[in-house]
């Protein structure tokens, strides 16, 4: 994999204050971007540095931290064989961020998954519906404050005596 250590400075030169920090972990470069700049940063990396593939988009719930969530973008350049991670912190009070779908089409289903599992809204997403859970499901199960085994059955279930489903 090509060296990615120049990207934090490249991004800082372009976006200044909006680049909050950067670090290296597991031989990968991570750049933390303010959430209002995430889409311009993505477009800049795609157009000028050949990151033609959004390999993954996911979310981390830190529960106690402020801001509580990180949206993580896993970018890859097929031509340069370069991988770069950009992250945007999102607070729980306003769980929303601009949709990356105008830049990479593959963001569509990833963002639906993050909405389904973590309840972050992606502003400008063309079709923000649940993708894994059923429509009747209440809440967002991968949030750390959602009880891990809180089930929401769609049809009545015979429970063994003494068993219960926490509601």
């Amino acid at each position: 994999m090509t060296d990615t250590s120049a990207f934090p400075d490249l991004l800082k030169a372009r976006f200044g204050e909006a680049i909050e920090s950067s670090y290296v972990d597991a031989a990968c470069t991570f750049v933390v971007v303010r959430r209002d700049t995430i889409v311009p940063a993505g477009r800049f990396l795609r157009d000028e540095h050949g990151f033609d593939l959004l390999a993954d988009l996911t979310c981390i719930d830190w529960l106690e931290r402020v801001p509580r969530f990180d949206v993580v973008y896993n970018l890859y350049s097929i031509a340069n064989r370069t991988r770069l991670f950009i992250k945007a912190p999102v607070p729980v009070e306003d769980p929303a961020i601009d949709s990356m779908t105008p830049v990479w089409k593959s963001a569509n289903w990833f963002e639906r998954e993050v909405w389904d599992m973590y309840g972050l809204r992606f502003t400008g997403h063309p079709d923000l519906r649940r993708i894994l859970m059923y429509d009747e499901f209440q809440g967002h199960p991968l949030r750390k404050d959602y009880a891990i085994n809180e089930r929401q059955p769609l049809i009545p279930e015979n429970l063994p005596p003494g068993d219960r489903i926490p509601v």
């Binding site: 859970m133 059923y134 199960p141 959602y146 009880a147 891990i148 085994n149 809180e150 089930r151 929401q152 059955p153 769609l154 049809i155 279930e157 015979n158 429970l159 068993d163």
Partner: protein, 161 residues
């Protein structure tokens, strides 16, 4: 050349329901409800090496209307539960159910927001098979247990639940 020749002028007698049960037991039509890794092991059971055909159950139907043995092989999610129930309801009586593997029998290690903790919460089950996944021999044993149940004229779980 038929079996009649073996009897010559003699005859055998039986009771009608025994003859019917004998036929049922050797011609089970399985409907696989495969939702996870256990379904792969079920394929091995039907394949030539273990060969479920030896027990008369090789005609795997993917239509519940043509089957009398439902084999639930895999993890059943809460989203899938209504589908499983409907497929079960579409099968004609008499019908039997094998719950194959830890997931189908108890939810397995998925004690989480998405997984039904055993299909017997939704439909009646005749035979449970332990294992993650069960070996093909275990699945064949379950089939033999169903055959024994048919032979013993015990009612299927579907009729006693």
């Amino acid at each position: 050349m038929g079996i009649e020749n073996a009897f010559g002028d003699s005859f055998i007698s039986t009771r009608l329901n025994e003859a019917i049960n004998w036929a049922r037991k050797w011609s089970l039509y399985p409907m696989p409800f495969g939702t996870a890794c256990c379904a792969i092991e079920f394929m091995a059971t039907v394949g030539s090496h273990y060969d479920m055909a030896r027990f008369g159950a090789e005609v795997v139907r993917f239509s519940p209307r043509q089957s009398d043995l439902l084999i639930v092989a895999g993890t059943v999610s809460e989203k899938m539960a209504p589908v499983l129930k409907r497929i079960y309801d579409q099968m004609c009586e008499p019908k039997w159910v094998i719950s194959m593997g830890a997931c189908a029998s108890s939810g397995g290690f998925y004690d989480n927001y998405a997984t039904v903790q055993g299909i017997d919460r939704i439909i009646p089950v005749d035979v449970y098979v332990a294992g993650c996944p069960p070996r093909p021999e275990a699945v064949l044993t379950a089939l033999i247990k169903i055959q024994e149940k048919i032979d013993s004229k015990q009612a299927p779980a579907a009729q006693t639940a």
